[in-house]
């Protein structure tokens, strides 16, 4: 552990001496990626500990949101109100990594430039199927069908084509293909992991023993 720290210190030395320090180095890296970057990878690249990098990213996030911080690096997260105008972009932790997004306030302006990713809205059937897969993953089409009471084959195919779900192996017993939600789904939802999905329980009144019945064969 101590040896690792030494190595890290060597790495961090030159970064800290650069204008803007480690925070600016992180920004520079975030500028060239086209997908969320994991904290661990950022830590490795800038040569700092994961915790330190996590704190710096949170500090950057707050800065973009308009909380001024004149201190360099390792800035304590204060509960002070926003004192500066927020930037036109924000830093967010999604799908297990960090990524820069335009701020929603400017959606109407940005959308005139970015046609990419402007996808058609999902149908009700697609949304419901996606919901079942996201909450019951990995899950077979048969089981999704049973829950939804209709055949879901074509909807599953189009969700896969849109990159929102993917195959994830086969069921050991039945050999049926299992499906799970993708990283892209998390990105589109703006959440970090499937665990951040809203709780299902409040929507299921009085069904504490749900597990039992849902595993029964239909």
């Amino acid at each position: 552990m101590s040896r690792e720290n030494e190595l890290m210190d060597t790495g961090s030395m030159d970064i800290v001496n650069l204008p803007g320090g480690a925070k600016a180095a992180l920004e520079a890296v975030l500028m060239v990626t086209d997908e969320p970057v994991a904290e661990a990878q950022l830590a490795a690249v800038v040569g700092l500990g994961v915790d330190q990098v996590g704190a710096l990213l949170v500090a950057l996030q707050r800065e973009y949101d308009g909380y001024t911080s004149t201190c360099n690096d390792a800035c304590p997260v204060s509960a002070a109100p926003a004192t500066a105008a927020p930037r036109g972009f924000e830093l967010r932790k999604v799908a297990g990594g960090w990524r820069i997004y335009s701020r929603t306030d400017f959606a109407h302006i940005v959308s005139r430039f970015v046609m990419d990713g402007q996808t058609a809205k999902l149908t009700q059937a697609a949304l419901e199927t996606l919901a079942v897969i996201a909450y019951r993953q990995p899950v077979s089409r048969a089981r999704v069908s049973a829950i939804r009471g209709v055949n879901v084959d074509s909807v599953v195919r189009s969700l896969a084509q849109r990159g929102l779900i993917e195959e994830s192996g086969t069921d050991a017993e039945s050999g049926a293909v299992l499906y799970q939600s993708t990283h892209y789904f998390l990105e589109r939802m703006g959440i970090s992991s499937a665990e951040d999905l809203p709780q299902l329980a409040p929507h299921l009144p009085g069904l504490e023993n749900l597990q039992d019945f849902e595993d029964s064969s239909y």
Binding site: G117, L130, P205
Partner: protein, 273 residues
């Protein structure tokens, strides 16, 4: 039984059928429409409304009336089952049969509630996706001097190998049909394909045979059913033709296909030579 008077004829079938995607959807719609407990839903009334709705659809030239009708049969069965279970006294179960019915009732309600829960969640997910679509991620291409740092690509594909890859990638991926659980069936399975071979062999003698003759040696009803299904398959494949003198008359089957039926079986890998 109905808590409210029947809606005016002009109102039509009020459950928004164009949006419904299955029996549960319709069931939920019905329950909320009639604002009543499931036991109070008059199945006959709902059926009347539905049939009237279907008739109007057909008159309007909607060709999906049949789909709707078949979905409704599933719904009606679910509803009936639900009602039967629901009408039981909710008190202590007297015996195992009562218990089983109560469990059935609970199971159906649980499934319906689960479906409702997922509908609510789907709405949340839909809203979330929509509001998130207002944020745009930075999606930049690497600047040329950084892109140049990418390690030189390893390429070991000959044109032939690459073509094989393309062939695989371009071959349509036919998804396996959704598996239907057969755990509840205890009867030995009868293979329809096998039955069609038996029929083909019988018809190979050259003259027409009645369906009665074709099933004369069937040991069980299941075999009769399988032979009938096999005939439908063969009719579809245009290797047999039917003839019937009048309603309920004897069904005559002719062989109209090529000489050997086994040719059609080539895909199953069977070779009887």
């Amino acid at each position: 039984m109905a808590a409210r008077p029947k809606p005016a004829e002009s109102a039509g079938f009020e459950v928004r059928l164009e949006n419904f995607s299955g029996p549960f959807d319709l069931l939920l719609g019905l329950i909320s429409k009639h604002e009543m407990d499931i036991t109070d839903v008059a199945l006959a009334q709902v059926t009347d409304e539905f049939i009237g709705y279907l008739r109007r659809l057909r008159e309007a030239g909607a060709d999906w009336a049949l789909d709707e009708a078949s979905e409704f049969v599933v719904l009606a069965a679910t509803l009936l089952e639900l009602k039967a279970a629901r009408l039981l006294p909710a008190g202590e179960a007297e015996n195992d049969d009562d218990l089983a019915l109560l469990e059935t009732r609970d199971l159906l309600f649980a499934r319906l509630l689960q479906y409702k829960a997922f509908k609510e969640i789907a709405a949340i997910i839909g809203d979330r996706l929509e509001s998130e679509a207002e944020r745009f991620p930075r999606l930049t291409a690497l600047e040329p001097h950084f892109a140049a740092l990418l390690p030189e690509l390893l390429w070991r594909h000959t044109p032939e190998k690459f073509a094989a890859l393309a062939r695989a990638a371009l071959t349509p991926r036919v998804p396996a049909p959704t598996a239907v659980g057969l755990g509840h069936l205890h009867a030995p399975t009868v293979d329809v394909k096998e039955q069609s071979e038996i029929i083909a062999a019988m018809l190979a003698v050259g003259h027409a045979m009645s369906f009665r003759v074709l099933i004369a040696d069937a040991a069980t009803t299941l075999v009769v059913v399988a032979r009938f299904l096999a005939l439908l398959d063969m009719f579809r494949d245009a290797v047999v033709a039917f003839e019937q003198a009048g309603p309920l008359g004897e069904l005559q089957v002719h062989w109209t296909g090529a000489f050997a039926y086994k040719e059609l079986d080539s895909e199953s890998g069977m070779d009887r030579e």
